[in-house]
Symmetry: C2
Subunit: 218 residues, 2 copies
């Protein structure tokens, strides 16, 4: 039951715990030990216990963890017990895919509108959500408090648009643009999904793997 700042590495692992516990729950498991979870997830039991204890003592000596309780507790930690108003900036391929992503809409993330700078798209709908003109963004945010914005526009306009979002009171940006936004940390949180970075890491690893294969062929 500590309260120091939780390390980023720990936070990154929480959704993975959440997934594995969800799977166990779906299987009807009622309890799980850190040792059992360790085997399934391929990380040490020690790390699991350390990680969880950043947030509280959810287990019980001699018993382990109640799967449902732990699942729900982690859900709360990850804000899965709340609803969010979401707008999607950019009605291109990626913006549309995110808007339509069903798992996304199911779980409390409520898309209210998309925005695009292409005037031809304004007035259309995507998966039933209205597409508005990008110039209306600031005005829209005044009337429609929004928790999360998904940025799926090219990097050229991303930094500028992000400022409008922050001024409009958006508190969280899910950034798919290939650029680092550099916004005031006390006003807004950002999580980057740099797909091209990710693909380059994959390409690095692929080359590395092939290098190993070659050296074994001697």
């Amino acid at each position: 039951m500590k309260d120091k700042k939780v390390p980023a590495a720990v936070i990154q692992r929480m959704p993975r715990y959440y997934r594995y516990l969800g799977d166990l729950l779906a299987k009807g498991a009622s309890r799980v030990s850190s040792a059992e979870l360790s085997r399934r997830m391929g990380i040490t039991a020690s790390q699991i216990r350390q990680d969880l204890n950043h947030f509280g003592g959810f287990g019980q000596q001699g018993y382990g963890y109640n799967v449902e309780v732990l699942y729900n507790e982690i859900g709360k930690i990850l804000g899965q017990d709340q609803d969010y108003n979401v707008i999607v900036i950019g009605a291109g391929n990626l913006g549309q895919a995110v808007s339509k992503y069903t798992n996304f809409n199911k779980r409390g993330y409520k898309v209210t509108a998309l925005f695009d700078s292409n005037p031809a798209l304004a007035g259309t709908t995507v998966a039933g959500y209205p597409v508005l003109d990008a110039t209306e963004l600031g005005e829209y945010l005044k009337e429609n408090p929004t928790d999360i914005a998904v940025l799926t526009i090219p990097k050229a306009g991303a930094v500028e648009t992000a400022k409008v979002l922050v001024e409009g009171g958006v508190k969280a940006i899910w950034n798919f643009a290939s650029v680092d936004l550099d916004l005031p940390q006390d006003k807004v949180v950002v999580v980057n999904v740099h797909l091209s970075d990710s693909l380059r890491v994959l390409s690095y690893k692929l080359r590395e793997l092939r290098g190993q294969e070659d050296s074994e062929e001697v």
Copy 2:
């Protein structure tokens, strides 16, 4: 010019260096010091030099780094000097978005086909690429050597499909399915893009930010 295994954290940072150097190059900068890059990127100059020296001594004392040389060197490290045959598994929203993603097709990643388990989609095309029936995957791979597969199907079928990919000689999987694949590391490399995990981290941070705001309002 060492050759120990490069830490994962370093590899994750390489694409970011690559982006910043690309920007500098576009601006016409010919040289850059680690101190200058440090200021721009918000990380220490020491870390930059340490990171780069995992791969080689690309700089010159008293001068710094030649932007173009360093950009190209990192490009090689990240496999950006090669072409890749790519297939996309799942012709849903995400699969289509990835297939159409222009930045992706521009840079040596050549989509050859999509696969979908929905027979209604087989025979159609997405952005000019043929959509084939998922049952043809194994056969296709025999005749069409493929470097990279992009997995954009629901987690239910992902593990099974991944096995077919590995058997078919695919060496790299870009995994968008919300599941950990657990494949033989000497046969295939995997990079995960767990979007729902990413969104949960954003939700965690949002809650954290709001908690700070509240405590300041006292």
